[in-house]
Amino acid sequence: MLTQDTAPQPRILLTKSFIDSHDRAIATIALALRDAAMEVVLIDYEQPEDVVNVALQEDVDVIGVSFMSGGQVETTEKIFAELKRRDVTDLPVVVGGTIRPFDVPPLEAAGVKAIFRGGAPLTEVVDSFRTLSRAYRGLAS
């Protein structure tokens, strides 16, 4: 399907820490979202605040953060704090990758809209991004 050049595709930011070289998960998700007609912006962040700055410049509809080795809760909380500081509290954030059971309650308390742990079905992940994106733009899902 060739889309029209004005088609308003969902825009997604996928990101991981620049010191984390585990990019298999993020590449897998990026390809799945691309194949589902979404525009995916990729960055490796140095500070959690970078994620929000880039998300605002790119006017994305969802932020997805991938974790492997650590900082799951701390980084996510900092992203939410920065979203609040920049006054865009409604921008949805999802996390994925190595999310340990004890990370889940604080991540949910921080406000993440979805958690994709290892083994999450790809179709479910894609649907989740699409639904959140449409809701953020005020479209029916």
């Binding site: 029209q4 050049d5 308003p8 595709q9 007609a37 990729l42 140095e46 605002l56």
Partner: protein, 331 residues
């Protein structure tokens, strides 16, 4: 509020440098919404002080890394820099992976550098349909320099040449020989040819081919050839100076800086089509789907249907003008 009024409000925040407003304005222009169409009209013709640099070259030539390194240097002379980086949309799904700014991470936190990734959405030519409008938005936001990175180009994607003052062709070592160097295409529209990745062994040979090509052209030749490496940092400062010198020369040429504001029948036609298209596509007025239905059922001629849609657009403009006048009287 009419799209025109809404666009004016957004533009006010854009001029104030609000990065979210700038981002939303770019989205509107990209999606060619009614507000986007009004915005592109309102920002047409960027301020004279906004310089524009086009960067093109094949995939993997190192355009993004080079732009990132140049931005760090050029910030000294151009305090606020906008970077537009174009990547291809999938011809299969319409989606895109926009990965250029991975190479520009050094500027992720700098409030004086605004980077936006654009997907081609089926547009050929190396940039997007909306790139001119997006450059103008950054001009309206008082950026001193806008750098446009094209998709990875082959030979004929030269649209960026008509959008930017100074053009940089990034040539990686090892692609082709002297025959490739004399072909028509992106090398012709560039002001500066840069052999990037100059730390690689083939760089001198590639530079040699390009140098010979420039030499064959004799005195008529105005392009310069430079070598640069973002790995070693060699040649970057010289390249930044060469870019700056080109900007100065283009100012001294006393070119009509308002050239891009001149309205011709062709631009008027495009702009008119854009406004009508945005209205017909996004209006909530149910009569548009009725018209489509009637055409599809063969009840009315296609041509009559579209004229009815254009009349609806004209009506909506009259209504909006009336409503705005009324609200002004009210306030």
């Amino acid at each position: 509020m009419s799209p025109e009024t809404e666009a004016a409000h957004l533009l006010q925040n854009v001029s104030g440098g609000d990065s979210l407003a700038i981002a939303r304005a770019i989205t509107a222009i990209e999606n060619a919404t009614a507000i986007g169409a009004e915005l592109s009209l309102a920002v047409r013709g960027r301020p004279a002080k906004c310089r524009t640099l086009g960067v093109t070259g094949p995939p993997g030539a190192g355009k993004s890394s080079l732009i990132s390194a140049l931005t760090a240097i050029l910030l000294e002379r151009y305090p606020r820099i906008g970077v537009l980086t174009v990547d291809p949309s999938s011809p299969v799904s319409g989606g895109a992976v926009l990965g250029d700014r991975v190479r520009m991470a050094a500027h992720s936190r700098n409030p004086d550098v605004f980077i936006r990734s654009l997907a081609t959405r089926g547009h050929l030519g190396g940039v997007t349909r909306a790139t001119r409008g997006v450059i103008d938005v950054l001009g309206a936001a008082a950026f001193d320099l806008v750098i446009v990175e094209t998709v990875g180009t082959g030979q004929s994607e030269v649209e960026v040449a008509s959008l930017t003052e100074v053009k940089l062709a990034v040539c990686p070592p090892g692609l082709g020989d002297d025959m490739q160097a004399i072909k028509a295409g992106i090398l012709e529209v560039a002001d500066l040819l840069v052999v990037n990745k100059a730390d690689l062994p083939d760089a001198d040979r590639t530079a040699g081919h390009l140098k010979a090509m420039l030499h064959y052209r004799g005195d008529a030749e105005t392009r310069s050839l430079l070598l640069a490496s973002t790995v070693t940092g060699d040649g970057l400062m010289a390249l930044a100076h060469a870019i700056d010198a080109r900007f100065r020369a283009s100012i001294n040429e006393d070119r009509d800086v308002c050239a891009n504001m001149t309205v011709t029948p062709a631009t008027l036609a495009d702009d008119a089509a854009e406004l009508v298209r945005a209205f017909v596509r996004y209006t909530r007025d149910a009569r548009v789907s009725d018209i489509c239905l009637a055409i599809n059922r063969g009840e009315i001629r296609h041509r009559d249907g579209l004229i009815a849609a254009v009349k609806m657009f004209v009506e909506s403009c009259d209504d909006a003008a009336g409503a705005d006048a009324h609200s002004r009287v009210g306030s």
